[in-house]
Symmetry: C3
Subunit: 150 residues, 3 copies
């Protein structure tokens, strides 16, 4: 059995941002030498996500805008507030990103795909996105391949 784990670095440049990492996933699969198996990817951060959707820029904007609607950074005034938005001793600063952790949970943080004949088996429109909810930051995504070689 071949087992390979790679960390890839992703630099976000905006507060909210979708970054297509499909080619990185495919590159790790090819480099692994696995012919049949599975590739798994996950973000290692709790205010970011990893999800699969269609790869068009207008949809990227909708995904970010809609998650912000469902889990806003600033709750609608007078309706509710976040407990996490308070002084956190362990961070030495105000917690401010409860809404971003919530987006991470709602949108998901990991995915897998089968590997078949040495290639990631994805649907024709499926792209893998790292999703930044609390940028800009330097981020790490773990990509792991398990399977049998050729």
């Amino acid at each position: 059995m071949i087992i390979k784990l790679e960390r890839i670095e992703v630099q976000s440049r905006r507060d909210l941002e979708m970054i297509d990492i499909t080619n990185e996933v495919d590159r790790v699969v090819t480099a692994s030498g696995v012919r049949d198996g599975v590739v798994m990817a996950m973000t290692t951060h709790t205010s970011s996500g990893l999800l699969v959707t269609e790869g068009v820029e207008c949809l990227e904007r909708d995904v970010l805008a809609h998650l912000e609607r469902l889990a806003p950074k600033d709750p609608p005034r007078g309706e509710y507030s976040y407990w996490h938005n308070r002084y956190l001793d362990y961070d030495g600063r105000l917690g401010f990103n409860a809404g971003d952790h919530l987006k991470s949970i709602l949108g998901g943080t990991q995915c897998f795909f089968p590997i078949e004949n040495g290639r990631t088996m994805r649907g024709g429109r499926q792209r893998v996105y790292f999703v930044e909810y609390d940028g800009p930051l330097a981020r790490t995504v773990a990509i792991q391949v398990l399977g049998e070689g050729g």
Copy 2:
């Protein structure tokens, strides 16, 4: 190690529809000859989902209705609109299914279960659903089994 990948075809008949594919997942597990391992299932489409919940018809209706509340096909007039709902050159038609992609992200698109003694290890009420958000369409679900034989 045994590694088996099957594609199953699912024909949805409505715009929004939950289709119980648990028996298909179990059939692939049995046919694989794997005694201990894991089975993974995913939809290959970005306007559909795959999720695990209880298998009762009234709940199926609630899941579909609630995802439509959280990510409507038509946004409430005057509140917001979707960028994806515009003319898409690459499709030669209007984008119209931003809300369906959003449902797919919120509800999830894949799942796994352990295999133990040749059987899928599920909770007593857990059923696996393919979820159509943009039907009726002919859809493909990938089911993969990895593990050791008996």
Copy 3:
């Protein structure tokens, strides 16, 4: 290949509750003797969840409160109702937890992590939570490890 499956018991004490099970996941990994591989965890119940987020008490409260906002136990009067909230023959009682099943779907029910050098490879702030939406109840979480030994 080493394949180990453990069931751990979780006793929730409140209706809504987040229970950090990271140490249990790590314990199963260590006990398995796997050096390189993957660990997968899932809840076996459809009115509970399993998710990954930061491990602070204020955020736990936000996650529970926000999922209750997005999928309330009692829908806002006059806006909508749940079909599942009716008499269920097979249960011999009223269905009452449609909102809890919906929370389970939105928040997710399973996760995986790579294992590297015999340790779970998690981000510095990532904790694994069993999430009770319909407690208090005795619950079972499945934790499975696959990989190669040292």
